[in-house]
């Protein structure tokens, strides 16, 4: 009975979303207050209904209702209780329901925290979010119903994909979706602004328009912070769960989440320029459309099955058509609207070539170029296939090389941004402040180049880049503190944290790439392998029984100078339900290095194929991403964003 109620809740949510979209949009166009007033209650009602549907599906998982097809396919009576909750978003239908739930959450939050916006603006913003909700709810109900019954009910479920039976998977998809869907807010705002025409019409109050934009900035920052967390969690999960020891594979699905991140990062910066200076108005609107469109494209790429990828879990191409049409309507519609209503660039505030505006323009160009590069490399195999040029794949070196080329100038420019004044600056001023730190960074780089045991270029570039960004950012913070009476706002603190995050990330990414050591070899019990000054002794494998799997539980002792410093237990698990085999790597984490041991396969006579890595500073990758996300959140708390009148 309950699953049918869930179905009804979804249908009602679709109806409410239709109301939330059509009435307020029409009301705002015609100036009918009572139609616009529908927006807020509809947003709350939608959240209630989608949350009810989600709770009912969760209940079906918890009580193991195998008469629901989705539950039967993604759960099993042996599944531990905590994975029963997370199994809800373990596959296609449930993750779409999660998407819809998060959209409803964001919509309700917008409805709640938008008191200071004019009614017409908020009606349009909520209306556009309602349109997006219609698309996703219709997709759920008509192509991917999670409540479809299985008759007769299955006696036993097929089990959750073992790759997803992991704590990292509990929070990775919600975080990622909070980011993806969060970009719907600046998108809805951009569409509302274009519909309103306030950005374009002659004689319109420019200050008011910027006041609305100030309202969207914290939303963009929060969405971006969640997306950053989501991507970092995904990378961390791939690192310890896939058993290959890599942290980023330039896999199509990773790219799908990385493209909105790049566009979103550009958007953060361009929104700041538009809000503070009134420049780049058209560009900011276009970026807002791009960031959300790329989020939708990401969903399409992952969920349509057109891509071969380590993440493409049993995808279904028939659903692709729906998402493709939806994508076409959203992107095509927004771009047509943009073409008709784009703001006139001549109204933008002017700035000199040497100014913070120029630096942020270069930042945007580089980030957007990187995004386009990733898009091309990700879609090229699809294009080649459609044009019958053969089945091809684009290798990671393409992405790695071009990304490095595009991001190197950005890293060089980061410290200049905060130290350069708006509108016009003497180039000698920020240069004078930064020259000593450039010298220091260069010195560190040269020393690293000659001292590094291997990977000299990457090590040197990583340390020099990190020192440069860190010192340059610290110089900015110092210059603010040194002036008596000058304020250090939350916005500045957030920016400082995020830029320091870049430095930390650079250390992690480039040192791991440059200095990692790995061996893959056959070891019999008692044999050992030496790596990076440590001795890894393989002490054999024993059988262990887990809740829903049988494991080959290995023991590897790590010795340094003959002294045991650690005992590690890599596992090879065989899951009871599907017979799937999973590698559980053993990791000894550390600030300066990770030790990483994974079992390959049994080679007979107690010997095993063993993979051993020593990965210096690998943790700094995720720590840096965490700092960036924290920076985004801190920026969003700035009091200025919540005041109605513009600060001078």
């Amino acid at each position: 009975m309950l699953p049918e109620l869930g179905q009804v809740a979804l249908l009602l949510a679709l109806l409410v979303a239709t109301l939330q979209a059509l009435l307020p949009l029409a009301g705002a166009q015609r100036g009918i207050a009572s139609w616009m007033a529908v927006a807020r209650p509809a947003a709350y009602a939608q959240l209630l209904l989608v949350a009810a549907a989600f709770a009912i599906l969760t209940h079906a998982f918890v009580v193991q209702d195998f008469s629901v097809q989705y539950v039967a396919e993604n759960s099993n009576s042996l599944l531990p209780w905590y994975y029963r909750y997370t199994a809800v978003w373990g596959a296609h239908e449930g993750s779409l329901l999660l998407w819809a739930l998060i959209l409803a959450l964001w919509t309700a939050a917008v409805a709640r925290f938008s008191r200071r916006l004019p009614d017409a603006v908020i009606a349009r913003v909520l209306g556009v979010m309602g349109l997006v909700a219609i698309g996703f709810l219709a997709f759920l109900i008509f192509t991917s119903n999670p409540f479809t019954r299985l008759l007769p009910a299955a006696a036993e479920g097929r089990d959750l994909n073992p790759l997803l039976q992991d704590p990292g998977m509990i929070i990775h998809p919600p975080m990622l979706y909070l980011g993806y869907v969060g970009f719907c807010v600046p998108f809805a705002f951009a569409i509302a602004a274009l519909l309103d025409g306030g950005a374009t019409r002659q004689g319109h109050d420019d200050r008011q328009w910027r006041d609305w934009l100030r309202w969207t900035r914290p939303w963009t920052n929060v969405a971006w912070a969640f997306l950053t967390c989501g991507i970092a969690l995904g990378s961390w999960w791939a690192y310890y769960e896939l058993g290959w020891g890599g942290w980023w594979f330039w896999d199509p699905v990773e790219n799908a989440s990385f493209m909105p991140w790049l566009a979103g990062t550009a958007l953060l910066h361009s929104q700041a320029v538009t809000e503070k200076r009134g420049s780049f108005r058209g560009w900011t609107l276009l970026l807002a459309i791009a960031a959300f469109s790329l989020s939708l494209l990401g969903t399409f790429l992952v969920r349509s099955g057109v891509l071969t990828s380590v993440h493409a879990f049993a995808a279904d191409p028939t659903r692709g058509l729906f998402v493709l049409v939806f994508l076409g309507i959203v992107i095509g519609g927004s771009l047509v609207l943009y073409a008709l209503r784009a703001p006139d660039g001549d109204k933008d505030a002017s700035f000199a070539p040497a100014s913070r505006e120029t630096l942020l323009l270069v930042n945007n160009l580089l980030l957007v170029a990187a995004c386009a590069m990733v898009l091309l490399g990700t879609l090229y195999p699809l294009l080649a296939d459609a044009l019958e040029l053969g089945k091809i794949s684009v290798g990671p070196p393409y992405f790695a090389l071009l990304f490095l080329l595009l991001m190197a100038p950005l890293v060089l420019l980061v410290p200049f941004g905060p130290l350069t004044r708006w509108q016009r600056e003497q180039p000698s001023k920020p240069l004078a402040m930064l020259v000593p730190w450039a010298g220091l960074a260069l010195g560190i780089g040269i020393a690293a180049f000659f001292l590094a045991p291997q990977g000299a270029w990457k090590t040197a570039a990583g340390l020099a880049g990190a020192a440069w960004v860190f010192a340059g950012t610290a110089r900015f913070a110092w210059s603010r503190f040194a002036i008596k009476g000058s304020r250090f706002t939350a916005e500045m603190l957030g920016m400082t944290l995020a830029h320091v995050g870049i430095a930390v990330f650079l250390v992690g990414a480039l040192l791991t790439e440059g200095l990692s050591m790995q061996r893959e070899l056959a070891l019999s019990p008692g044999q050992s392998v030496a790596l990076a000054g440590r001795e890894f002794r393989f002490d054999g494998v024993e059988r262990r029984i887990g809740p829903n799997y049988i494991a080959d539980h290995g023991t590897v002792r790590v010795l340094r100078d003959g002294r045991a410093i650690d005992t590690m237990h890599p596992e090879k698990r065989s899951y009871a339900s599907g017979g799937q085999v999973m590698t559980e790597a053993a990791i000894d984490p550390g600030i300066t290095r990770d030790l990483y041991v994974a079992l390959g396969e049994s080679l007979g006579d107690g010997a095993w194929a063993v993979r051993v890595h020593v990965k210096p500073f690998v943790r700094w990758i995720w720590f840096g991403a965490g700092l960036m996300a924290l920076g985004g959140l801190v920026t969003a708390t700035d009091r200025r964003f919540r005041r109605k009148e513009a600060a001078p």
Partner: protein, 156 residues
Amino acid sequence: MNPTRKRRLWLVLALVAAAAIATALVALALQRNVAYLYTPSEVLRGEAGAHARFRLGGMVAADSFRRAPGSMEAHFVVDDGDARLPVVYTGILPDLFREKQAVIATGRMRGDTFVAEQVLAKHDETYMPKEVADKMGEAHRKHDVPASAGAPAEMQ
């Protein structure tokens, strides 16, 4: 030409030059890192000849996998239903690597053997790489892959 126009002209020229360099770089990087997918029969017909490094897709033939005791060198045969090609790979194979299941190996031909540097297997019970499925409709039936072998396979 007045100064404003002159400045605009330079700006446009600089943008065109930057775009040209970027396009050239991207094209070069793409060309170098693209790997084509071939089946064993295509390889044996010489179609892969032009590409030194390519991806080989097909099924791991039944009873073809062997590894010398205590050695990391693995030998197996990739089969597309019409032709078979021996593959050698040194290292740990992915968890889902099995006989009679789809596999994609990246590497080069050395003599009559394909030397793989990377081996990818399908990623769960119901999923088969679409490109392999597209390429070997025939092999599918011959190798008795269950009908549920993934929605991508049903698309053909």
